[in-house]
């Protein structure tokens, strides 16, 4: 952690800090110079930390009452909902918390995409972020199995069967994952164990994510490096803390609305039917946050290729820092990229929509076009755009646009407003 000089005032503080520099760390975190022009899209890092901690705390509480056994899991969830003191509240927070977590992470990712936060020198932050995102998906999937409803059971069956696409060893891997010849009690208990483990892995990676962030410092809406820390930045505390806090509260209002007034709207009714290995529900749909990838999976007619396409759709993001050849970070100064960015956003939303629809007729066609465009965006458009695009002039410092002193920027700002 950078060149931070700090000496505790008290004698004991100094004695302790010499042995374990926790106070230096605390001081680094509070004084951490943050670009003062960060907008509200940058508050989602803090919001995500809140989401993770909420999931861990409510999860620990639920684990005190939940029974990971095929015969009792569904009953124990109902026991939590009916008898445990505030059990319904804690479970609804945990269940909706997963959706809010993904809502926040998608905003966070698309913020990165818009302002080029994945570019040099922040590639490692970005890749750690992708790993966190993958682990989140795993945790969400495993967690969804635990109530042992119909969607849990059949979701688990369908997703684990993806591995059977692997040539030669596929079937063996699936049997190994199940611990039997179908999704059953051994599957449930191991899923519970892993669901419990993953959040702590994520927590560790979040520490690395923030550590890696604190080395180069934050990107910012104009996407240029800090010239003069004294002029361009503010200390993290209290400036960013209060701003993140404000955004977090707005977020919590939305969160509370879901928990208290429509707690089941993001779930699926079939999951209130206990798992039945003899009957498959009429429509198997994953949770909303996995729908775009589900659409990609289904748009490919071949089993193995479908799985590969779905995985590549996520892994391609890890290569993004090198696929995007532009020297300019922020989309504010990249008029063409900005257009393509919004097309990508629309594309992903369309994928999400068709992912929820039956894979037939027009829906399937749309899914295929959208899937193709998704890959074209990253593999063709971005590399070419870096060379072809005429970018707008970039301000000399962060402070300049803040003061409105840069004449060549005024045009860019107006344009940016139109687009945002």
């Amino acid at each position: 952690m950078s060149d931070h000089e700090y000496t505790p005032k008290s004698k004991f503080g100094k004695w302790f800090n010499d042995r374990l520099p926790l106070l230096t760390l605390a001081s680094h975190l509070t004084d951490y110079p943050t670009p003062k022009n960060l907008n509200y899209w940058w508050t989602f890092g803090g919001i995500l930390t809140f989401c993770l901690l909420t999931q861990i705390i409510t999860g620990l509480v639920l684990a005190m009452h939940y029974i990971a056994h095929a015969d009792m899991a569904f009953d124990s969830v109902e026991h939590i909902m009916r008898d445990v003191n505030y059990g319904w509240l804690i479970r609804y927070i945990h269940a909706n918390g997963a959706s809010m977590f993904f809502l926040a992470v998608y905003i966070h990712i698309f913020r990165s995409l818009f302002y080029g936060s994945y570019k040099s020198p922040r590639e490692v932050i970005w890749i750690i972020g992708i790993i966190i995102y993958l682990l989140m998906m795993a945790a969400a999937f495993l967690g969804y199995v635990l109530p042992w409803g119909q969607m849990s059971f059949w979701g688990a069956t369908v997703i684990t069967n993806l591995f059977s696409a692997i040539p030669l060893v596929g079937e063996g891997i699936v049997t190994w994952l199940w611990g039997g010849y179908s999704v059953d009690n051994p599957t449930l208990t191991r899923f519970f164990t892993l669901h419990y483990l993953i959040p702590f892995l994520i927590l560790g990676l979040v520490v690395l994510h923030i550590w890696a962030l604190h080395v180069p410092g934050n990107n910012n809406p104009v996407g240029i490096d800090i010239q003069k820390p004294s002029k361009d930045t503010v200390p993290f505390h209290p400036y960013i803390v209060i701003k993140d806090g404000f955004a977090l509260l707005m977020f919590m209002i939305v969160f509370a609305f879901f928990v208290f007034y429509t707690p089941n709207i993001l779930g699926h009714a079939d999951n209130y039917i206990e798992a039945n290995p003899l009957v498959t529900p009429a429509h198997i749909v994953p949770e909303w946050y996995l729908l775009p990838f589900y659409a990609i999976l289904r748009s490919v007619p071949d089993k193995l290729l479908g799985v590969i396409a779905m995985l590549s759709a996520i892994l391609i993001l890890a290569a993004l820092p090198w696929l995007d050849t532009s020297k300019i970070r922020s989309a504010v100064f990249r008029p063409l990229y900005r257009q393509f960015y919004w097309i990508l956003v629309a594309d992903v939303l369309i994928l999400g929509y068709v992912g929820a629809m039956p894979a037939e007729g027009l829906y399937l066609l749309i899914a295929r076009v959208a899937t193709a465009y998704y890959f074209i965006h990253f593999l063709v458009i971005l590399p070419i755009l870096g060379f072809k695009e005429k970018t707008l002039p970039v301000p000399l410092s962060i402070t300049e646009p803040v003061l409105g002193g840069s004449p060549n920027l005024a045009g860019a700002r107006i344009k940016n407003k139109e687009n945002l």
Binding site: M64, D83, V84, N85
Partner: protein, 169 residues
């Protein structure tokens, strides 16, 4: 900045902190309360026991709220012994009449008040119960006479529903 302004700012920050603290407290409470006995546990708080087959000098042990309850039909000698004890000799003075409403029946929680082990029936120096964990001796009324236990064994709330049935809790 004038003094007035500073004061107003201080008030704003104090109010924000205070309101925030209330919220944190209100959020923590459900996380604590969830560990308290839940509604289904509370509902099982009473149990009925048929004691028609218990002869004088016999003890049955039943489970109530997950703990053993001793129901002993005492002999005349035991009752006499329990009544003869002077309150001065007791570590935790309680009259036998207060512990056994019907002197023939002693209904008490079979849990040693020291650290929660289950004492053995008809053992120890006082013809009552003896706790093997740390050597507490109880008399025929379940009162502590010797050893580390601080109080007599607890009498739960109970009543005779009819002459053959005791309802505990």
């Amino acid at each position: 900045m004038s003094e007035k302004k500073t004061k107003r700012r201080d008030f704003l920050f104090t109010a924000t902190y205070a309101v925030g603290a209330v919220g944190v407290g209100a959020t923590i409470w459900p996380m604590i309360d969830q560990m308290n006995p839940d509604a289904s546990v509370k509902a099982l708080a009473s149990t009925e026991v048929d004691v028609s087959s218990v002869n004088p000098g016999k003890t049955i042990t039943v489970l109530w709220r997950g703990k053993p309850v001793f129901i002993r039909r005492r002999t005349q000698e035991e009752i006499a012994e329990a009544k003869a004890v002077s309150l001065k000799d007791l570590k935790h003075p309680e009259k036998d009449e207060d512990r056994a409403k019907d002197p023939e029946w002693l209904v008490m929680l079979g849990v040693c008040t020291h650290l929660g082990c289950v004492p053995l029936d008809q053992k120890g120096d006082y013809n009552g119960w003896f706790c093997p964990c740390h050597g507490s001796h109880y008399d025929t009324s379940g009162r502590i006479r010797k050893g580390p236990a601080p109080t007599n064994m607890e009498i739960p709330e109970y009543k005779f529903v009819n002459s053959n049935t005791i309802k505990i809790g």
